[in-house]
Symmetry: C2
Subunit: 347 residues, 2 copies
């Protein structure tokens, strides 16, 4: 039995109707609401076939049909193929990117906005700093034995660390050290800071050996730790609005999972292979996390300065509005990368 054009149309009708109502779809509903020019009885026959092919399922005998994971998969694959979809503009975004001063809060705001726009829950990971390059380091004396280290990387991400030192140090010496550090470290990734380089810097630092060592230490440590990538979730309560989660315990399990950042981290990164910028979708059972098997996840990666660094994901019910959501996501990524590449985040 092959999947002819008419069966496909019926499948789409089922998906569409189920998206609207979250109720199993019957043959009469399709015949009435979708102009296919065939009677309910015919549709019933076709539906029987579609079920045999595994694209739809019946929750119980004598109920309507709902799309199966396989059905959604087919639908989504076709959708992704013909994706010249008009990209949906998100009005608020421009404002947002304009006024953000730190990338972390920008990401949080983007997540919030995307959740508001799509009415689903969103997850967004902070950039992985492993491959980002040092742009500037500055040492500032706060108290006699307390230094502030400011590190700026490309993409203008700013990190502040405070370190305590044993002996006081004057600002003009710090300025010299700052100069030495920038001289040696500009443009380097954290992997490129190796022992010979460190020794060379230490030589220049002379008497301020302790300070330089501590600074290098703290910079390396924080920049290379993967644990440092955080995940911001937003709109998790949107989940409560979906009838598929009217069982409050299921909903809470899911929300709890979304707060469990470490699980999300694995999930998000498992979804972004080596292809950048592509939209990836997982549907139902395809998701490894047990609590999410009633959901679908749409993800994509975003770049800062050309390198793949972070992931954005949208999680909703399986009957989610794939088309609009993908389109919003694409638009978002586009505007975001344009902005971040320019690094134009100040006033």
């Amino acid at each position: 039995m092959e999947l002819n054009d008419r069966k496909m149309k019926i499948l789409q009708a089922i998906i569409s109707s189920y998206f609207d109502t979250a109720e199993p779809v019957g043959s009469r509903t399709i015949s009435k609401n979708y102009d296919l020019g065939i009677s309910p009885a015919t549709i019933r026959n076709e539906m029987s076939d579609l079920e045999e092919l595994g694209f739809i399922v019946q929750p119980h005998t004598s109920s309507g049909r709902i799309p199966s994971d396989k059905g959604y998969r087919l639908y989504v694959d076709i959708l992704l193929e013909n994706q010249k979809a008009q990209i949906k503009k998100i009005a608020l975004l421009e404002d947002l990117v304009q006024k953000a001063d730190r990338i972390e809060s920008l990401l949080q705001d983007i997540g919030k906005m995307l959740a508001k726009e799509t009415h689903y829950a969103t997850m967004i990971s902070t950039p992985q700093y492993k491959s980002s390059k040092i742009k500037n380091i500055q040492l500032i004396c706060l108290e006699p034995t307390k230094l502030l280290v400011v590190v700026v990387t490309d993409g203008n991400t700013i990190k502040n660390y405070m370190i305590n030192i044993k002996e006081g140090i004057e600002q003009n010496i710090l300025n010299r050290l700052t100069f030495i550090l920038n001289e040696h470290l500009y443009g380097l990734t954290v992997e490129q800071i190796n022992l010979p380089l460190i020794q060379s810097i230490q030589k220049y630092a002379e008497a301020n050996f302790e300070v330089i060592t501590k600074v290098l230490d703290v910079v390396c440590q924080t920049m290379q730790s993967t644990d440092d990538t955080d995940i911001y979730t937003s709109g998790t309560t949107n989940i409560l609005k979906f009838p598929e989660f009217s069982n409050i315990n299921k909903a809470m399990e899911l929300i709890d999972t979304l707060e469990e950042k470490s699980a999300l981290k694995t999930l998000l990164y498992s979804m972004t292979g080596n292809e950048d910028g592509k939209i990836k979708i997982k549907i139902g059972e395809e998701i490894e996390v047990a609590e999410m098997k009633e959901c679908s996840i749409i993800t994509t990666s975003y770049c800062i300065g050309g390198e793949m660094v972070g992931v954005i994901g949208i999680i909703g019910p399986k009957r989610m509005d794939y088309m609009n959501t993908i389109s919003s996501l694409k638009y978002l990524i586009n505007s975001m990368e344009k902005k971040l590449l320019k690094g134009d985040k100040g006033s």
Copy 2:
């Protein structure tokens, strides 16, 4: 009719039992579970009196009683009076305060932890910078026409701003400007930066008039705007676990309110009068926000460097565990202020 000792004991038993079960409490339950040495019938008579006095109410005829707002108020007032309560230690806190690098993320973590500890929702406001003093300003050149301004205030709160300038500027000139700025602004609050002072600084800056003006502008603006104080909420989904919010719509309304930061801001600051460090409690109808009239809120303010700057609040059902919650909160504030006063936030 006066509120004698036995009535008080019964009220406490009702509150205690209702805390455990969230079910109206009957006379037999009290007689069985609380060793008062009186029969259900006697308890019924006393309860009838307590109801007349307004301390308990009946959800409907022939059901048990639940405490009224007035009943909780009495209970809480007595609780606050005899507060030598053993302070409950929160194990995780020490760790948290140790490794935090920015006050914002520290506050977020504290909120999370407190939510986890108490199983209620928490709100925590970022410090109000109005009265905090400038400790250090640093200008860093990132790109020819892009500067990074780092401002450190007492309490070691660090703020970063990026500004764009028209003409390029060299780092050694920036160093001079940095020196001038620190020379003039050290120890000042934002209110103390007046026109004569600005003009005096501008004079020193000579050719770099534009830069200095922009820097001063951005520093003043961000430090004095009250809008800058943010509120972090945490554990909002804990609300779903309480039977009083089994009506999912009510729960969602409340959660939405908790995400509406501006309303929370008013609420939190309305609760902290001019007395520092005291625990304040609002119960049910005492809360101005309509969606929260089924809740109680416990707040207190926290200090950095001796001045009142922020507020922490815990929101739960009216039958919340006031004693433990207050005790956790007190312990938290204690440890936090000790840490922040020392400003020991780096490694």
